[in-house]
Symmetry: C2
Subunit: 354 residues, 2 copies
Amino acid sequence: MSRFFSDLVKNITPYVPGEQPKDRRFIKLNTNENPYPASAKVMAAIGSVTALAARLYPDPQVTELRRTLAAYHNLAIDQVFVGNGSDEVLAMMFPAFFDRTDTIAFPDITYSFYPVYAALYQIPYVAVPLQEDFTIDFDDFPENLKALLLANPNAPTAIAVTSAEIENQLRRRPETLIIVDEAYVDFGAESVVPLTCRYDNLLVIQTLSKARSLAGLRVGMAFGNPELIRALECIRDSFNSYTVDVVAQRAAKAAYEDVAYFEKTRAAIIATREKTVAALTDIGMKILPSTANFVFCTWPGVAGEKVQQYLRDNGVLVRRFNKPRIEDWLRITIGTDEEMDEVIRLLQLFGTPA
Amino acid sequence: MSRFFSDLVKNITPYVPGEQPKDRRFIKLNTNENPYPASAKVMAAIGSVTALAARLYPDPQVTELRRTLAAYHNLAIDQVFVGNGSDEVLAMMFPAFFDRTDTIAFPDITYSFYPVYAALYQIPYVAVPLQEDFTIDFDDFPENLKALLLANPNAPTAIAVTSAEIENQLRRRPETLIIVDEAYVDFGAESVVPLTCRYDNLLVIQTLSKARSLAGLRVGMAFGNPELIRALECIRDSFNSYTVDVVAQRAAKAAYEDVAYFEKTRAAIIATREKTVAALTDIGMKILPSTANFVFCTWPGVAGEKVQQYLRDNGVLVRRFNKPRIEDWLRITIGTDEEMDEVIRLLQLFGTPA
């Protein structure tokens, strides 16, 4: 260990993303990427960047893309923030709103980057246990929180709460900032983006990595009232003035403009998910109700590690979190029909007595 | 002000980047961009990204690009870190190495983002005054610093120190981390990257925004001993796993592979700079010795604001910092020969009695 390490580096445990294999070809269902390519209009937008544009700094305010996003969601442009992936937006949200004297809360089973951010910024947090069936009971969350952080649908469970339930919390907790991470919202859950016009204690995070097939370009957003957006801009401008490059700005704009492709691909993913859920249920797996582009499932009585290794041995990567309550569950991204047919075939074989 | 703002947001003053004009066409010499377009090989690399690659997360370890950078500088791959612009690398360096109980130092006149980072992370710092002629006297820096942060060549002065002077400090201050920000090093100064193999208290920061014509793509690097790089990775992985998108990774690799284009364009900029310095000296301007892609100059007895406004009125953007000692100085980026001829013509006119 270098004598120059900060105390933070000595103590922190970073987030570990799902494997991005470089050599062997896998059916890759471990990081919730979209199985469909980026839209042709996105690729045309990438191709439109000239060598002269590449030499200039990008627009630090991301104006054109924010205008498109604002129009799409029927908001004003000053209600929109854009960052280098929704992870960066989350990472900037922590210092924008939380001091070391605040307490925030999120479910015990949720996106595992949240506790890492809390450690990075040394913000005290409460990890509130989900119910036995992995649903949320909001009454379990303490009063007087500075913030309540909620992935909706939740990851890795895939279970969503309704917009009405969130609005109820916004009303009941006016002094608590409620942050809703809607990374997976486009696959069947209700977005609370429209509520940002009515509640100043709501911040909504979204991404282009999932429903817009653009994980490779790193674009995420926050929607909220203009004051909340201003705080995010203040941190961004104290960290890195230009976080979203010129190619990503144009690609993201094109992705939002190509509504037809978005609707077609997300409908395909939802249809494949429903077929997958039916087939896996048929062979005896237990699957939580999903409104995401992944399913969270387990084989009762079988170690999750064993199932994961079997799939890997047969060329399929899925994600498992080695944590209490969920170590026997697998998070399987919904791929194409062909990919899921292969997963179903493999799991049927696994379940058949030799 | 929102009741949700953190104390940090209430108190911090963000960095203000140079204007990126959207409407009117300017000769843009205010943000030290390269006047030459990105290389044709870079544009081909951008065009090689497929719609299927765009849907996948980029390689979080940035392996291919780091391999290219390591080979270029004759280092091992674990001596190389890549971030979303050198500003992000600097922003991650602060929490990687500095605690709130440490003291760091940098010159009083230098890249104005350094004190913003110190404020963001609440790291105490000493701003050590440059000499009257804007050179550095290292004896003015306190002993027992956690770190000494040095832009070389310095910005906005454009003055460089030698590699030997830095090595002398590395030897004299083994318990101080010496960070050398070499954003502009390729225009005539000496790089200390080779010294990272011999000194474990040296971290060197570079960027593709200046000499590689890629400000629009946002790629910056750090070079140092593997332990220092590991600390940066630890912070990166606690902040945002994928900071460099798939397009930027490929573009940056191609930029480093196209050595001929890099050599041609940087030689052109150096030649234009020398012509510009001669012409501005001829008309009575005072110019600091520059090894950068910009010159720092003043018209003795004339308010800098007046000269800047005159140039702006005539279609030329240059940068001025409204700070003690330098408020009458202009930082003028070196553009093409044609652009600099126009600047020289305008300044000649300005200096001619009516």
